[in-house]
Protein backbone atom coordinates (compact mmCIF):
# COMPACT_ATOMS: atom_id res chain seq x y z
CA UNK A 1 0.00 0.00 0.00
CA UNK A 2 2.75 2.43 0.95
CA UNK A 3 4.72 1.38 -2.10
CA UNK A 4 1.70 2.03 -4.25
CA UNK A 5 1.41 5.55 -2.77
CA UNK A 6 5.07 6.26 -3.38
CA UNK A 7 4.68 5.12 -6.97
CA UNK A 8 1.71 7.42 -7.53
CA UNK A 9 3.59 10.28 -5.94
CA UNK A 10 6.54 9.69 -8.26
CA UNK A 11 4.33 9.57 -11.34
CA UNK A 12 2.52 12.73 -10.26
CA UNK A 13 5.76 14.62 -9.64
CA UNK A 14 7.18 13.51 -12.98
CA UNK A 15 4.03 14.59 -14.82
CA UNK A 16 4.09 17.99 -13.10
CA UNK A 17 7.76 18.46 -13.97
CA UNK A 18 7.13 17.57 -17.62
CA UNK A 19 4.18 19.97 -17.79
CA UNK A 20 6.10 22.83 -16.17
CA UNK A 21 9.06 22.28 -18.45
CA UNK A 22 6.81 22.19 -21.55
CA UNK A 23 5.17 25.50 -20.62
CA UNK A 24 8.54 27.15 -19.97
CA UNK A 25 9.85 25.93 -23.27
CA UNK A 26 6.89 26.49 -25.59
CA UNK A 27 5.13 29.44 -23.96
CA UNK A 28 7.81 31.38 -22.08
CA UNK A 29 5.66 34.53 -22.25
CA UNK A 30 3.59 33.07 -19.44
CA UNK A 31 6.49 33.94 -17.10
CA UNK A 32 7.08 37.42 -18.51
CA UNK A 33 5.48 39.25 -15.60
CA UNK A 34 7.33 37.60 -12.70
CA UNK A 35 10.63 37.68 -14.60
CA UNK A 36 10.18 41.34 -15.52
CA UNK A 37 10.67 42.19 -11.86
CA UNK A 38 14.33 41.18 -12.24
CA UNK A 39 15.05 43.27 -15.31
CA UNK A 40 16.43 46.77 -15.37
CA UNK A 41 14.55 49.40 -17.25
CA UNK A 42 13.94 48.54 -20.90
CA UNK A 43 15.51 45.05 -20.81
CA UNK A 44 13.50 42.16 -22.28
CA UNK A 45 12.47 39.58 -19.65
CA UNK A 46 12.22 36.60 -22.02
CA UNK A 47 15.15 35.41 -24.12
CA UNK A 48 14.12 35.79 -27.76
CA UNK A 49 17.34 35.64 -29.76
CA UNK A 50 16.83 31.95 -30.46
CA UNK A 51 14.11 29.33 -30.09
CA UNK A 52 14.23 27.82 -26.58
CA UNK A 53 13.20 24.45 -28.00
CA UNK A 54 16.04 24.42 -30.46
CA UNK A 55 18.54 25.45 -27.76
CA UNK A 56 17.23 22.68 -25.49
CA UNK A 57 17.56 20.10 -28.26
CA UNK A 58 21.12 21.24 -28.95
CA UNK A 59 21.88 21.01 -25.22
CA UNK A 60 20.40 17.53 -24.97
CA UNK A 61 22.20 16.48 -28.14
CA UNK A 62 25.63 17.47 -26.90
CA UNK A 63 25.05 15.81 -23.49
CA UNK A 64 23.72 12.66 -25.15
CA UNK A 65 26.65 12.39 -27.52
CA UNK A 66 29.23 12.94 -24.78
CA UNK A 67 27.50 10.56 -22.34
CA UNK A 68 27.11 7.86 -24.97
CA UNK A 69 30.81 8.05 -25.75
CA UNK A 70 31.64 8.03 -22.04
CA UNK A 71 29.33 5.02 -21.51
CA UNK A 72 30.92 3.01 -24.31
CA UNK A 73 34.47 3.79 -23.20
CA UNK A 74 33.91 3.49 -19.41
CA UNK A 75 31.89 0.28 -19.77
CA UNK A 76 34.47 -1.35 -22.05
CA UNK A 77 37.36 -0.43 -19.80
CA UNK A 78 35.37 -1.38 -16.68
CA UNK A 79 34.67 -4.82 -18.15
CA UNK A 80 38.28 -5.24 -19.26
CA UNK A 81 39.85 -4.44 -15.88
CA UNK A 82 37.51 -6.83 -14.04
CA UNK A 83 38.64 -9.79 -16.25
CA UNK A 84 41.65 -11.77 -14.99
CA UNK A 85 43.69 -10.62 -18.01
CA UNK A 86 42.98 -6.93 -17.38
CA UNK A 87 43.14 -6.85 -13.60
CA UNK A 88 46.67 -5.45 -13.62
CA UNK A 89 45.46 -2.34 -15.49
CA UNK A 90 42.81 -1.46 -12.90
CA UNK A 91 44.98 1.06 -10.97
CA UNK A 92 46.06 2.76 -14.22
CA UNK A 93 42.48 2.99 -15.53
CA UNK A 94 41.32 4.36 -12.18
CA UNK A 95 44.01 7.03 -12.22
CA UNK A 96 43.04 8.17 -15.72
CA UNK A 97 39.31 8.27 -14.89
CA UNK A 98 40.05 10.19 -11.69
CA UNK A 99 42.17 12.66 -13.63
CA UNK A 100 39.26 13.26 -16.01
CA UNK A 101 37.05 14.02 -13.03
CA UNK A 102 39.46 16.27 -11.13
CA UNK A 103 40.56 18.29 -14.15
CA UNK A 104 38.03 21.16 -14.16
CA UNK A 105 35.83 21.23 -17.30
CA UNK A 106 36.65 24.90 -17.80
CA UNK A 107 40.33 24.11 -17.88
CA UNK A 108 39.59 21.23 -20.22
CA UNK A 109 37.85 23.68 -22.56
CA UNK A 110 40.84 25.98 -22.44
CA UNK A 111 43.10 23.10 -23.43
CA UNK A 112 40.73 21.72 -26.07
CA UNK A 113 39.87 24.94 -27.93
CA UNK A 114 43.35 25.50 -29.39
CA UNK A 115 43.33 21.90 -30.61
CA UNK A 116 39.82 21.63 -32.02
CA UNK A 117 38.65 25.19 -32.48
CA UNK A 118 35.51 26.81 -31.10
CA UNK A 119 32.07 25.14 -31.14
CA UNK A 120 30.64 21.87 -29.95
CA UNK A 121 33.83 19.79 -30.19
CA UNK A 122 35.76 21.13 -27.18
CA UNK A 123 32.56 20.94 -25.13
CA UNK A 124 32.08 17.31 -26.14
CA UNK A 125 35.62 16.48 -25.08
CA UNK A 126 35.22 18.21 -21.71
CA UNK A 127 31.89 16.52 -20.96
CA UNK A 128 33.21 13.13 -22.08
CA UNK A 129 36.25 13.34 -19.80
CA UNK A 130 34.16 14.63 -16.91
CA UNK A 131 31.51 11.92 -17.28
CA UNK A 132 33.80 8.88 -17.41
CA UNK A 133 34.46 8.36 -13.72
CA UNK A 134 30.96 7.67 -12.32
CA UNK A 135 30.18 5.18 -15.09
CA UNK A 136 33.58 3.54 -14.80
CA UNK A 137 33.47 3.20 -11.01
CA UNK A 138 29.90 1.92 -11.03
CA UNK A 139 30.68 -0.61 -13.75
CA UNK A 140 33.47 -2.00 -11.60
CA UNK A 141 31.35 -1.92 -8.43
CA UNK A 142 28.43 -3.58 -10.24
CA UNK A 143 30.56 -6.35 -11.75
CA UNK A 144 32.47 -6.99 -8.53
CA UNK A 145 29.18 -7.07 -6.62
CA UNK A 146 27.95 -10.13 -8.52
CA UNK A 147 27.99 -13.09 -6.13
CA UNK A 148 31.05 -15.28 -6.81
CA UNK A 149 28.88 -18.33 -6.13
CA UNK A 150 26.56 -17.36 -8.96
CA UNK A 151 29.49 -16.98 -11.34
CA UNK A 152 31.01 -20.25 -10.10
CA UNK A 153 27.70 -22.05 -10.67
CA UNK A 154 27.46 -20.61 -14.17
CA UNK A 155 31.01 -21.66 -15.01
CA UNK A 156 30.51 -25.10 -13.42
CA UNK A 157 27.44 -25.67 -15.58
CA UNK A 158 29.41 -25.06 -18.75
CA UNK A 159 28.89 -21.40 -19.63
CA UNK A 160 31.79 -19.80 -21.47
CA UNK A 161 33.32 -16.58 -20.09
CA UNK A 162 31.58 -14.53 -22.79
CA UNK A 163 28.20 -15.99 -21.94
CA UNK A 164 28.74 -15.50 -18.22
CA UNK A 165 29.50 -11.82 -18.87
CA UNK A 166 26.53 -11.34 -21.21
CA UNK A 167 23.91 -13.43 -19.44
CA UNK A 168 24.89 -13.26 -15.78
CA UNK A 169 27.35 -10.51 -14.85
CA UNK A 170 26.11 -7.59 -16.97
CA UNK A 171 22.38 -8.11 -16.25
CA UNK A 172 23.12 -8.35 -12.52
CA UNK A 173 25.41 -5.29 -12.60
CA UNK A 174 23.04 -3.30 -14.81
CA UNK A 175 21.18 -1.34 -12.11
CA UNK A 176 24.48 -0.14 -10.62
CA UNK A 177 25.84 0.76 -14.06
CA UNK A 178 22.68 2.71 -14.88
CA UNK A 179 22.99 4.54 -11.54
CA UNK A 180 26.48 5.62 -12.62
CA UNK A 181 25.21 6.73 -16.01
CA UNK A 182 22.49 8.69 -14.26
CA UNK A 183 24.97 10.63 -12.15
CA UNK A 184 27.17 11.22 -15.18
CA UNK A 185 24.32 12.55 -17.34
CA UNK A 186 22.91 14.83 -14.65
CA UNK A 187 26.31 16.35 -13.96
CA UNK A 188 26.81 16.76 -17.72
CA UNK A 189 23.53 18.62 -18.18
CA UNK A 190 24.69 21.23 -15.71
CA UNK A 191 28.27 21.32 -16.92
CA UNK A 192 27.28 21.65 -20.59
CA UNK A 193 26.23 25.27 -19.94
CA UNK A 194 29.88 26.32 -19.92
CA UNK A 195 30.12 25.09 -23.51
CA UNK A 196 28.37 28.31 -24.53
CA UNK A 197 31.53 30.23 -23.58
CA UNK A 198 33.30 28.57 -26.51
CA UNK A 199 30.43 28.82 -28.95
CA UNK A 200 28.57 25.51 -28.49
CA UNK A 201 24.83 25.91 -28.87
CA UNK A 202 22.85 25.09 -25.73
CA UNK A 203 20.90 26.52 -22.84
CA UNK A 204 24.11 28.06 -21.49
CA UNK A 205 23.67 30.74 -24.15
CA UNK A 206 20.79 32.27 -22.21
CA UNK A 207 22.80 32.42 -19.00
CA UNK A 208 25.86 33.85 -20.73
CA UNK A 209 23.71 36.44 -22.51
CA UNK A 210 22.19 37.38 -19.15
CA UNK A 211 25.60 37.75 -17.54
CA UNK A 212 26.94 39.85 -20.39
CA UNK A 213 23.93 42.17 -20.45
CA UNK A 214 23.54 42.18 -16.67
CA UNK A 215 20.04 40.78 -17.14
CA UNK A 216 19.08 38.65 -14.13
CA UNK A 217 15.87 37.50 -15.81
CA UNK A 218 17.90 35.72 -18.54
CA UNK A 219 20.20 34.14 -15.98
CA UNK A 220 17.28 32.84 -13.97
CA UNK A 221 15.39 31.63 -17.04
CA UNK A 222 18.41 29.74 -18.38
CA UNK A 223 19.28 28.33 -14.97
CA UNK A 224 15.78 27.07 -14.31
CA UNK A 225 15.55 25.46 -17.74
CA UNK A 226 18.83 23.60 -17.18
CA UNK A 227 17.76 22.55 -13.70
CA UNK A 228 14.39 21.29 -14.95
CA UNK A 229 16.12 19.36 -17.71
CA UNK A 230 18.35 17.69 -15.11
CA UNK A 231 15.35 16.87 -12.93
CA UNK A 232 13.53 15.28 -15.88
CA UNK A 233 16.60 13.26 -16.86
CA UNK A 234 16.87 12.10 -13.26
CA UNK A 235 13.26 10.95 -13.25
CA UNK A 236 13.62 9.14 -16.56
CA UNK A 237 16.87 7.40 -15.67
CA UNK A 238 15.61 6.57 -12.19
CA UNK A 239 12.64 4.87 -13.81
CA UNK A 240 14.93 2.82 -16.05
CA UNK A 241 17.17 1.97 -13.11
CA UNK A 242 14.21 0.66 -11.09
CA UNK A 243 13.03 -1.37 -14.04
CA UNK A 244 16.46 -2.98 -14.34
CA UNK A 245 16.37 -3.82 -10.62
CA UNK A 246 12.83 -5.14 -10.59
CA UNK A 247 12.95 -8.94 -10.77
CA UNK A 248 15.20 -9.15 -7.75
CA UNK A 249 13.76 -6.53 -5.43
CA UNK A 250 12.28 -8.24 -2.37
Amino acid sequence: MRREWRRLLRIGAAAAAVAAFAVMLLAPQAFERPLAVLTKFGQPAIYDRDSLLSLTLAHVGIVAAASLAALVVALSIGIFVTRPAGAQYLPLARAVANLGQTFPPVAMLAVAVPLTGFGARPTLIALFAYGLLPIFENTIAGLKGVSPQVVEAARGMGMTDGRILKEIELPLALPVIIAGLRISIIVSIGTATIGSTVGARGLGEIIIAGLQADNLAYVLQGGVLVAMLAVLADFGLGFIERRARQPRSP
Binding site: G156, M157, G158, P171, P247
Partner: protein, 328 residues
Amino acid sequence: MITVDALTKTYGPVRAVDGISFELAEGEALALIGPSGCGKSTTLRMINRLIEPSAGRVLIDGVDTRSIPPAALRLRMGYAIQGIGLFPHRTVAQNIATVPRLLGWPRARIAARIEELLDLFGLPPAVFAHKYPHELSGGQQQRVGVARAMAGKPAVLLMDEPFGALDPITRARLQDEFLAIRRRMGTTVLLVTHDMDEAFRLADRLAVMEKGRIVQLDTPEALLRRPASAFVQSMVGNEDRGLKLLSLAGVAALMRPAEGWAPAGEGTFRKAGGQEALAPLSASASLREAASRLVLTGVDELPVVDETGNLVGTIDMARIIAFGGGRR
Protein backbone atom coordinates in the same frame (compact mmCIF):
# COMPACT_ATOMS: atom_id res chain seq x y z
CA MET B 1 32.07 -44.26 -16.03
CA ILE B 2 34.68 -41.98 -14.51
CA THR B 3 38.24 -42.94 -13.74
CA VAL B 4 40.39 -40.69 -11.59
CA ASP B 5 44.05 -41.56 -11.92
CA ALA B 6 46.76 -40.21 -9.60
CA LEU B 7 45.15 -36.77 -9.57
CA THR B 8 47.39 -34.18 -7.89
CA LYS B 9 47.16 -30.47 -7.17
CA THR B 10 50.08 -28.55 -5.71
CA TYR B 11 50.05 -24.95 -4.59
CA GLY B 12 53.72 -24.07 -4.22
CA PRO B 13 55.15 -26.59 -1.78
CA VAL B 14 51.69 -27.64 -0.54
CA ARG B 15 50.14 -30.77 -1.99
CA ALA B 16 46.44 -30.01 -1.62
CA VAL B 17 45.52 -33.22 -3.43
CA ASP B 18 48.15 -35.90 -3.47
CA GLY B 19 47.79 -38.65 -6.07
CA ILE B 20 44.14 -39.59 -5.71
CA SER B 21 42.74 -42.51 -7.71
CA PHE B 22 39.28 -44.02 -7.77
CA GLU B 23 36.63 -45.27 -10.15
CA LEU B 24 33.02 -44.26 -10.26
CA ALA B 25 30.74 -46.80 -11.92
CA GLU B 26 27.63 -45.84 -13.82
CA GLY B 27 24.70 -45.34 -11.48
CA GLU B 28 26.93 -45.33 -8.41
CA ALA B 29 27.04 -42.66 -5.73
CA LEU B 30 30.45 -42.00 -4.21
CA ALA B 31 31.09 -39.56 -1.39
CA LEU B 32 34.39 -37.78 -0.78
CA ILE B 33 34.43 -37.12 2.92
CA GLY B 34 36.88 -35.53 5.29
CA PRO B 35 37.57 -32.47 7.43
CA SER B 36 37.94 -29.01 5.87
CA GLY B 37 41.13 -28.61 3.94
CA CYS B 38 41.51 -32.31 3.18
CA GLY B 39 41.30 -31.65 -0.58
CA LYS B 40 37.84 -33.08 -1.26
CA SER B 41 36.43 -29.95 -2.94
CA THR B 42 39.63 -29.43 -4.91
CA THR B 43 39.33 -33.02 -6.17
CA LEU B 44 35.74 -32.43 -7.27
CA ARG B 45 36.64 -29.19 -9.01
CA MET B 46 39.49 -30.83 -10.87
CA ILE B 47 37.06 -33.34 -12.30
CA ASN B 48 35.11 -30.63 -14.16
CA ARG B 49 38.30 -28.60 -14.62
CA LEU B 50 37.25 -25.60 -12.59
CA ILE B 51 40.74 -26.25 -11.22
CA GLU B 52 43.41 -27.59 -13.55
CA PRO B 53 45.25 -30.60 -12.07
CA SER B 54 49.00 -30.35 -11.55
CA ALA B 55 49.38 -34.01 -12.43
CA GLY B 56 47.31 -37.11 -13.04
CA ARG B 57 44.27 -37.46 -15.26
CA VAL B 58 40.53 -37.94 -15.30
CA LEU B 59 38.83 -40.19 -17.85
CA ILE B 60 35.16 -39.97 -18.65
CA ASP B 61 34.02 -43.06 -20.56
CA GLY B 62 37.65 -43.68 -21.42
CA VAL B 63 38.29 -40.18 -22.83
CA ASP B 64 40.84 -37.94 -21.14
CA THR B 65 39.05 -34.80 -19.97
CA ARG B 66 42.00 -32.66 -21.03
CA SER B 67 41.06 -33.40 -24.64
CA ILE B 68 37.60 -31.85 -24.17
CA PRO B 69 37.15 -28.04 -23.95
CA PRO B 70 36.25 -27.16 -20.33
CA ALA B 71 32.86 -25.62 -21.15
CA ALA B 72 31.83 -28.63 -23.26
CA LEU B 73 33.05 -31.01 -20.55
CA ARG B 74 31.01 -29.23 -17.88
CA LEU B 75 27.86 -29.44 -19.97
CA ARG B 76 28.12 -33.22 -19.53
CA MET B 77 28.49 -32.96 -15.75
CA GLY B 78 25.85 -31.55 -13.47
CA TYR B 79 27.16 -29.21 -10.81
CA ALA B 80 25.35 -28.34 -7.58
CA ILE B 81 27.05 -26.28 -4.87
CA GLN B 82 26.44 -25.13 -1.34
CA GLY B 83 24.70 -21.77 -1.32
CA ILE B 84 23.13 -22.91 -4.55
CA GLY B 85 24.22 -20.10 -6.89
CA LEU B 86 20.80 -19.73 -8.50
CA PHE B 87 20.68 -16.83 -10.96
CA PRO B 88 18.73 -14.15 -9.06
CA HIS B 89 17.53 -12.38 -12.23
CA ARG B 90 16.04 -15.51 -13.75
CA THR B 91 12.93 -17.47 -12.88
CA VAL B 92 12.99 -21.02 -11.56
CA ALA B 93 12.14 -22.30 -15.06
CA GLN B 94 14.88 -20.21 -16.70
CA ASN B 95 17.39 -21.39 -14.10
CA ILE B 96 16.57 -25.03 -14.75
CA ALA B 97 16.68 -24.41 -18.51
CA THR B 98 20.30 -23.19 -18.36
CA VAL B 99 22.15 -26.33 -19.47
CA PRO B 100 19.45 -27.64 -21.88
CA ARG B 101 19.52 -24.22 -23.55
CA LEU B 102 23.32 -24.33 -23.81
CA LEU B 103 23.00 -27.81 -25.27
CA GLY B 104 20.61 -26.41 -27.88
CA TRP B 105 17.60 -28.53 -27.03
CA PRO B 106 14.38 -27.60 -28.85
CA ARG B 107 12.02 -25.39 -26.87
CA ALA B 108 9.35 -28.06 -26.34
CA ARG B 109 11.86 -30.54 -24.95
CA ILE B 110 13.21 -27.93 -22.51
CA ALA B 111 9.69 -27.08 -21.33
CA ALA B 112 8.90 -30.77 -20.80
CA ARG B 113 12.15 -31.29 -18.89
CA ILE B 114 11.45 -28.31 -16.60
CA GLU B 115 8.00 -29.67 -15.84
CA GLU B 116 9.33 -33.18 -15.22
CA LEU B 117 12.01 -31.98 -12.81
CA LEU B 118 9.75 -29.62 -10.88
CA ASP B 119 7.27 -32.45 -10.43
CA LEU B 120 10.05 -34.79 -9.39
CA PHE B 121 11.24 -32.37 -6.71
CA GLY B 122 7.74 -31.73 -5.39
CA LEU B 123 7.52 -28.15 -6.71
CA PRO B 124 4.26 -27.86 -8.70
CA PRO B 125 5.22 -26.15 -12.00
CA ALA B 126 2.10 -23.99 -12.04
CA VAL B 127 3.17 -22.44 -8.74
CA PHE B 128 6.95 -22.38 -8.99
CA ALA B 129 8.03 -22.17 -12.66
CA HIS B 130 7.73 -18.37 -12.83
CA LYS B 131 8.91 -17.48 -9.36
CA TYR B 132 12.24 -15.78 -8.78
CA PRO B 133 14.80 -17.37 -6.42
CA HIS B 134 14.27 -14.73 -3.71
CA GLU B 135 10.62 -15.80 -3.49
CA LEU B 136 11.60 -19.36 -2.45
CA SER B 137 12.50 -20.83 0.94
CA GLY B 138 16.00 -22.20 1.48
CA GLY B 139 14.85 -25.77 0.95
CA GLN B 140 13.01 -24.86 -2.24
CA GLN B 141 16.06 -23.01 -3.57
CA GLN B 142 18.20 -26.05 -2.83
CA ARG B 143 15.75 -28.31 -4.70
CA VAL B 144 15.87 -25.98 -7.71
CA GLY B 145 19.68 -25.98 -7.50
CA VAL B 146 19.81 -29.78 -7.71
CA ALA B 147 17.08 -29.88 -10.38
CA ARG B 148 19.08 -27.35 -12.43
CA ALA B 149 22.20 -29.52 -12.10
CA MET B 150 20.27 -32.57 -13.36
CA ALA B 151 18.46 -30.76 -16.18
CA GLY B 152 20.82 -31.65 -19.02
CA LYS B 153 20.80 -35.38 -18.14
CA PRO B 154 24.47 -35.27 -17.18
CA ALA B 155 26.67 -38.37 -17.20
CA VAL B 156 27.57 -37.56 -13.62
CA LEU B 157 26.24 -35.19 -11.00
CA LEU B 158 28.94 -33.37 -9.02
CA MET B 159 27.67 -32.08 -5.69
CA ASP B 160 29.64 -29.96 -3.23
CA GLU B 161 27.90 -29.86 0.16
CA PRO B 162 24.61 -29.48 -1.69
CA PHE B 163 22.46 -29.53 1.43
CA GLY B 164 24.98 -27.82 3.70
CA ALA B 165 23.21 -24.52 4.32
CA LEU B 166 19.91 -26.00 5.51
CA ASP B 167 18.45 -26.65 8.93
CA PRO B 168 18.72 -30.32 10.02
CA ILE B 169 15.06 -31.18 9.43
CA THR B 170 14.88 -29.71 5.94
CA ARG B 171 18.25 -31.28 5.16
CA ALA B 172 17.09 -34.75 6.18
CA ARG B 173 13.93 -34.40 4.13
CA LEU B 174 15.86 -33.25 1.07
CA GLN B 175 18.34 -36.09 1.47
CA ASP B 176 15.49 -38.62 1.50
CA GLU B 177 13.88 -37.01 -1.53
CA PHE B 178 17.16 -36.89 -3.39
CA LEU B 179 17.87 -40.54 -2.56
CA ALA B 180 14.50 -41.58 -3.96
CA ILE B 181 15.04 -39.51 -7.12
CA ARG B 182 18.54 -40.89 -7.61
CA ARG B 183 17.32 -44.48 -7.29
CA ARG B 184 14.55 -43.81 -9.76
CA MET B 185 16.71 -42.03 -12.35
CA GLY B 186 19.87 -44.09 -11.84
CA THR B 187 21.93 -40.91 -11.60
CA THR B 188 25.69 -41.26 -11.11
CA VAL B 189 26.75 -38.99 -8.26
CA LEU B 190 30.03 -37.72 -6.87
CA LEU B 191 29.32 -36.02 -3.57
CA VAL B 192 31.58 -33.90 -1.39
CA THR B 193 30.58 -33.56 2.25
CA HIS B 194 32.00 -33.30 5.73
CA ASP B 195 28.82 -34.77 7.22
CA MET B 196 29.27 -38.51 7.77
CA ASP B 197 25.56 -39.15 8.26
CA GLU B 198 24.84 -37.48 4.93
CA ALA B 199 27.49 -39.60 3.23
CA PHE B 200 26.10 -42.82 4.79
CA ARG B 201 22.63 -41.85 3.72
CA LEU B 202 23.32 -40.83 0.13
CA ALA B 203 26.38 -42.76 -1.03
CA ASP B 204 27.05 -46.37 -2.00
CA ARG B 205 30.75 -45.98 -1.24
CA LEU B 206 32.75 -43.48 0.77
CA ALA B 207 36.26 -42.21 0.16
CA VAL B 208 37.58 -40.91 3.47
CA MET B 209 40.20 -38.23 2.82
CA GLU B 210 42.95 -36.85 5.03
CA LYS B 211 45.62 -34.34 3.98
CA GLY B 212 45.03 -34.75 0.26
CA ARG B 213 44.94 -38.55 0.19
CA ILE B 214 42.25 -41.18 0.32
CA VAL B 215 42.89 -43.18 3.48
CA GLN B 216 40.03 -45.65 2.99
CA LEU B 217 37.53 -46.24 0.18
CA ASP B 218 34.80 -48.65 1.16
CA THR B 219 31.12 -49.30 1.63
CA PRO B 220 29.53 -47.75 4.72
CA GLU B 221 29.30 -51.16 6.36
CA ALA B 222 32.95 -51.98 5.79
CA LEU B 223 34.03 -48.55 7.06
CA LEU B 224 32.08 -49.10 10.26
CA ARG B 225 33.19 -52.69 10.79
CA ARG B 226 36.81 -52.30 9.79
CA PRO B 227 38.03 -48.69 9.92
CA ALA B 228 41.56 -48.69 8.51
CA SER B 229 42.98 -46.25 11.02
CA ALA B 230 42.25 -44.29 14.16
CA PHE B 231 41.48 -41.29 11.92
CA VAL B 232 38.83 -43.17 9.94
CA GLN B 233 37.41 -44.50 13.18
CA SER B 234 37.11 -40.98 14.56
CA MET B 235 35.43 -39.87 11.30
CA VAL B 236 32.83 -42.65 11.29
CA GLY B 237 32.10 -42.20 14.99
CA ASN B 238 33.87 -43.56 18.03
CA GLU B 239 31.08 -44.23 20.52
CA ASP B 240 28.13 -44.94 18.23
CA ARG B 241 29.82 -47.03 15.49
CA GLY B 242 27.74 -50.05 16.46
CA LEU B 243 24.51 -48.11 16.36
CA LYS B 244 25.43 -46.57 13.00
CA LEU B 245 26.03 -50.07 11.70
CA LEU B 246 22.52 -50.99 12.77
CA SER B 247 21.06 -48.03 10.91
CA LEU B 248 22.49 -49.40 7.64
CA ALA B 249 20.38 -52.58 7.69
CA GLY B 250 16.61 -53.01 7.62
CA VAL B 251 14.40 -55.14 9.81
CA ALA B 252 12.95 -56.93 6.76
CA ALA B 253 16.21 -58.75 5.99
CA LEU B 254 16.59 -60.08 9.52
CA MET B 255 13.06 -61.08 10.56
CA ARG B 256 12.04 -64.59 11.35
CA PRO B 257 8.54 -66.04 10.83
CA ALA B 258 6.00 -64.98 13.42
CA GLU B 259 4.89 -68.16 15.12
CA GLY B 260 2.39 -68.12 17.94
CA TRP B 261 1.59 -64.38 17.60
CA ALA B 262 -2.02 -63.22 17.39
CA PRO B 263 -3.73 -59.85 16.93
CA ALA B 264 -4.68 -58.21 20.23
CA GLY B 265 -6.78 -55.32 18.96
CA GLU B 266 -5.97 -51.74 17.87
CA GLY B 267 -3.14 -52.95 15.63
CA THR B 268 -1.23 -54.62 18.46
CA PHE B 269 -0.13 -58.25 18.74
CA ARG B 270 0.38 -60.69 21.63
CA LYS B 271 2.59 -63.76 21.78
CA ALA B 272 0.97 -67.01 22.88
CA GLY B 273 1.45 -67.21 26.64
CA GLY B 274 2.68 -63.60 26.76
CA GLN B 275 1.14 -60.89 28.95
CA GLU B 276 1.62 -57.71 26.96
CA ALA B 277 -0.10 -56.56 23.76
CA LEU B 278 2.81 -55.05 21.77
CA ALA B 279 2.68 -52.33 19.10
CA PRO B 280 4.44 -53.69 15.98
CA LEU B 281 7.49 -52.36 14.12
CA SER B 282 7.33 -51.44 10.44
CA ALA B 283 9.20 -53.81 8.11
CA SER B 284 10.89 -50.75 6.57
CA ALA B 285 12.39 -49.71 9.93
CA SER B 286 16.15 -49.93 10.41
CA LEU B 287 17.75 -52.28 12.94
CA ARG B 288 18.69 -49.17 14.92
CA GLU B 289 15.01 -48.27 15.31
CA ALA B 290 14.24 -51.88 16.19
CA ALA B 291 16.93 -51.97 18.88
CA SER B 292 15.71 -48.67 20.24
CA ARG B 293 12.12 -49.95 20.47
CA LEU B 294 13.21 -53.21 22.09
CA VAL B 295 15.16 -51.30 24.73
CA LEU B 296 12.32 -48.86 25.39
CA THR B 297 9.67 -51.57 25.55
CA GLY B 298 11.82 -53.80 27.75
CA VAL B 299 11.12 -57.00 25.79
CA ASP B 300 13.40 -59.13 23.64
CA GLU B 301 11.08 -59.75 20.69
CA LEU B 302 8.73 -57.49 18.70
CA PRO B 303 6.18 -58.21 15.93
CA VAL B 304 6.82 -56.71 12.49
CA VAL B 305 4.11 -55.60 10.03
CA ASP B 306 4.09 -54.49 6.38
CA GLU B 307 2.62 -51.16 5.18
CA THR B 308 -0.91 -52.54 5.30
CA GLY B 309 -0.60 -53.72 8.92
CA ASN B 310 -0.31 -57.45 8.20
CA LEU B 311 1.94 -59.41 10.53
CA VAL B 312 4.98 -60.52 8.51
CA GLY B 313 7.48 -61.67 11.13
CA THR B 314 9.30 -60.85 14.35
CA ILE B 315 12.61 -59.33 15.25
CA ASP B 316 14.59 -60.08 18.40
CA MET B 317 17.66 -58.73 20.19
CA ALA B 318 19.74 -61.86 19.64
CA ARG B 319 19.47 -61.48 15.86
CA ILE B 320 20.36 -57.80 15.99
CA ILE B 321 23.42 -58.53 18.09
CA ALA B 322 24.39 -61.37 15.74
CA PHE B 323 24.19 -58.91 12.82
CA GLY B 324 26.40 -56.48 14.69
CA GLY B 325 28.97 -59.24 15.13
CA GLY B 326 28.81 -60.08 11.43
CA ARG B 327 27.24 -63.52 11.99
CA ARG B 328 23.90 -63.26 10.28
